[in-house]
């Protein structure tokens, strides 16, 4: 009975979001007040109409209602309760509910905290958002109904949640990512409304900026958590795989970063209005495109969702409707009356232009690399190739280099006029000294210098000094600094730290396959690794063979546990890596095969500075969130 209530409420959500998508527009264009509806209240109401089905689904998981097909496919009696909660969004149907919930959340936030006084314009943003929400609601009900029942004889237990998803990071990674994806709906709706109302560039850019920043912040967090999860859960010790699904999140991230930078120029100087509109549309389009690639089954990856061509077709339909629609408005709109202020070649405006060009071309190259295997397969009649990490790394490097160099001095540029480059010699000297300092530290820590990462390490010091020195230049006291520059300082320093992490981990990492019997030990780097013993462990829904390993560098000894788990309902194997985290490095060991009797193979790795990658990403996320919230509050 309760799942049916969820189902019915979901249907009413569909109907109401349809009305929300039509009525406000009809009221504006027919100038008929009879049709106008209270949009603020409706946004709250809609939110509850999706919250209830979502809670119902959670409830069905918690009480083990296996007559609900979705529950029986993704849960199991023995699954611990917090994973039952996570299983709610662990597969296609439930994650769509979460997605719609997130979109409704953004819409409420926008309706209550936007800085525009133009009622018709806000109603239009509301209406367009409702149309997007309606499309997703329709998609859910018609192709992916989470409340479908297995009747008359429900199974006694379920097939279990995919074991590699049974993990703490995974319980929060998808919600954050979906918040990021769905948040891009707001800038999209704003850009369409701005075109319909011929809004002044400065005005709509200031309206859109906080929402773009916050979506970008959630995307950053979601991607970073996903990378962290892959690092310790997949047991390979890698942190980025250029997997199509990772790319599908990375592309909208790049575009949203480009967008909020170009919006700064639009808001302050009224330039790049058309460009910002296009970026808003394409950032949203790529977040939908990501969904399409993952859930239509045309790309295979570790993120396996149920494959269904019909779903792919539906998402393609949504994509076509909204993006063709908005680009059509763009193509017929008369932008002629816009006057673009002029600016010099070395001005801040030009800096933003360069930043945007680099980010967008990079995003397009990654998109191309992601779908190229499909094109190749189509034109060669079925031959399959995979464009892997080498392609993406070759592409990424020059762009990252150019972006980093630009980032170092971008903050010193001035609006409109030619900038003075008097700061350059000092900045150069400072970043070179930091660079040398980092190299000395690395040498002390690892007894080694790897030439390959010199350029990247220099880049990191250059960004860091460029970011920190500008604050000194501006002579801000502590409180004024917090108010005015904390967000950008945080985010840009985060970028420097992330770059340093990537540089060091990619050249200083070492790994080795070892074969050990109990009580044997082996030297690796500056560590002695001892295989103490194996143990059998019974978890709530798995059986595990675990090995206790001890790392010793002469003075410190520490034990870590690595496991091979067999999850009982599905029989799937997972490897739990044993990780010892220090400030400057991770010691990473994962259990391989049982060769004979007690002899096991292990893969052991030392990953210096790997935590710094996620620390940097966290700082970027916090910085952009702060910047977004600050601008919401400014209203």
């Amino acid at each position: 009975m309760i799942p049916e209530i969820g189902h019915i409420i979901l249907i009413s959500h569909l109907v109401l979001s349809f009305m929300g998508g039509i009525l406000p527009l009809a009221a504006i264009y027919s100038k008929n007040d009879f049709l106008s509806i209270p949009t603020k209240k409706l946004s709250v109401f809609l939110f509850f109409l999706i919250l209830v089905p979502f809670l119902v689904l959670i409830y069905s998981f918690l009480i083990d209602d296996f007559s609900v097909a979705y529950v029986s496919q993704n849960s199991n009696i023995n699954l611990p309760n917090y994973y039952k909660l996570a299983a709610t969004w662990g597969a296609h149907e439930g994650s769509l509910l979460l997605w719609i919930l997130a979109m409704n959340g953004w819409l409420i936030a926008y309706m209550f905290f936007n800085n525009s006084k133009d009622k018709d314009y806000i109603s239009t943003v509301f209406s367009i958002s409702c149309q997007v929400i309606f499309a997703f609601s329709l998609f859910t009900l018609f192709t992916s109904n989470p409340f479908e029942r297995i009747l008359p004889i429900p199974p006694l237990s379920g097939a279990d949640l995919n074991p590699s998803l049974q993990d703490i990071a995974f319980t929060v990674h998808p919600p954050l990512l979906y918040f990021g994806y769905s948040g891009l709906m707001i800038p999209f709706a704003i850009s369409v409304a701005a075109m319909l109302f011929s809004k002044d560039t400065k005005e709509w850019a200031s309206n859109s900026r906080p929402w773009t920043l916050m979506s970008c912040s959630f995307l950053t967090l979601g991607i970073a958590l996903g990378s962290w999860w892959a690092y310790y859960e997949l047991g390979w010790g890698g942190w980025w795989f250029w997997d199509p699904v990772e790319n599908a999140a990375f592309i909208p991230w790049l575009l949203s970063v480009a967008l909020f930078h170009s919006l700064i120029a639009s808001e302050n100087r009224g330039v790049y209005g058309k460009w910002s509109i296009l970026l808003s549309i394409f950032a949203f389009a790529t977040s939908l495109l990501g969904t399409f690639l993952v859930r239509s089954g045309i790309l295979t990856s570790v993120h396996a969702f149920a494959l269904d061509p019909e779903r792919g077709l539906f998402i393609l339909g949504i994509l076509a409707f909204f993006i063709i629609g908005s680009l059509f408005i763009y193509s017929i709109k008369d932008f002629e009356n816009e006057t673009t202020p002029s600016y010099e070649l070395t001005s801040k405006e030009f800096g933003f232009l360069l930043n945007n060009l680099l980010l967008v071309v990079l995003a397009v190259s990654i998109l191309f690399g992601t779908i190229f295997p499909l094109i190749y397969e189509a034109i060669t009649d079925g031959k399959q190739i995979s464009v892997g990490a080498p392609y993406f790394e070759v592409i990424l490097f020059p762009f990252a280099l150019a972006l980093g160099l630009l980032q170092g001095f971008a903050l010193y540029l001035s609006w409109g006029t030619s900038s003075s480059f008097k700061f350059l010699p000092r900045l150069l000297i400072e970043s070179v000294s930091i660079f040398v300092l980092i190299l000395i530290i690395l040498f002390i820590l690892f007894d080694n210098l790897h030439l390959t990462s010199f350029a990247t390490i220099f880049l990191s010091s250059w960004i860091l000094m460029g970011t920190l020195q500008i604050n000194k230049n501006k002579n801000l006291n502590y409180w004024r600094f917090l108010r005015k520059r904390a967000a950008v300082t945080f985010a840009h320093s985060g970028m420097a730290i992330l770059t340093l992490g990537v540089a060091v981990v990619s050249s200083y990492s070492i790994e080795k396959e070892i074969i050990l019997a109990p009580d044997d030990s082996v030297e690796f780097g500056n560590q002695t690794i001892l295989f103490k013993n194996t143990e059998d462990i019974m978890g709530p829904n798995y059986f595990s063979k675990s090995a206790t390993m001890s790392f010793s560098d002469g003075s410190n000894i520490s034990d870590v546990l690595t496991e091979k788990r067999t999850y009982s309902p599905s029989g799937q194997l997972t490897t739990e890596a044993g990780i010892k985290t220090e400030i400057f490095q991770d010691l990473y060991i994962s259990m391989g095969d049982n060769l004979e009797a007690d002899i096991w193979s292990f893969k052991v790795q030392i990953k210096p500075f790997i935590r710094w990658i996620w620390l940097g990403a966290l700082m970027i996320a916090i910085g952009s969130l702060l910047a977004g919230i600050k601008r919401v509050r400014k209203t």
Binding site: I298, I324, L327, S331, I375, P569
Partner: protein, 173 residues
Amino acid sequence: MKKVIDIFPLAIFVVLLIVLFSFLSEKDDQLETALVDSDFPDFSLSALSNDNKTLTKGDISKLPALINVWATWCIACRVEHPFLMQLKNESVLTIYGLNYKDNRTKALSLLERDGDPYEFSIYDFEGRLAIDLGVYGAPETFFVDKNGVIRERHVGVVDETVWEKKFAKYLNE
């Protein structure tokens, strides 16, 4: 002149959309045709009921037949199980089971409890034959005609409708 440039983004996007759409239909066909009209692949695996008995392609002798991929962890397999029993009881055609990545004891006790629609089941713990067949997961069903050629493939639950629509026509050839 300015107008023409404004149509560019739309044009580029439409091209992208067409490319994506063509992938979709491409993929759709591929699923259907991958092994259709080719011989059933060779294999050498043990029988579910007896670890020491090796089964090969030659053992699939009562043709035409259905090859049904199943497992105890697969809930949808239990949904289609009664229909497979019905096919067996009405002697419509032989069904061979391919027990996929499963626990032998559990699988046998399930067949004992719910009935065994299969002539025999091949025990494919590592999914070797399943890989050759291009199996996506369980349940999945193949129709092998009297010459040992795979004629049709269905991913998902086989029921009355699927049987009528996809398989029945091959039976009377």
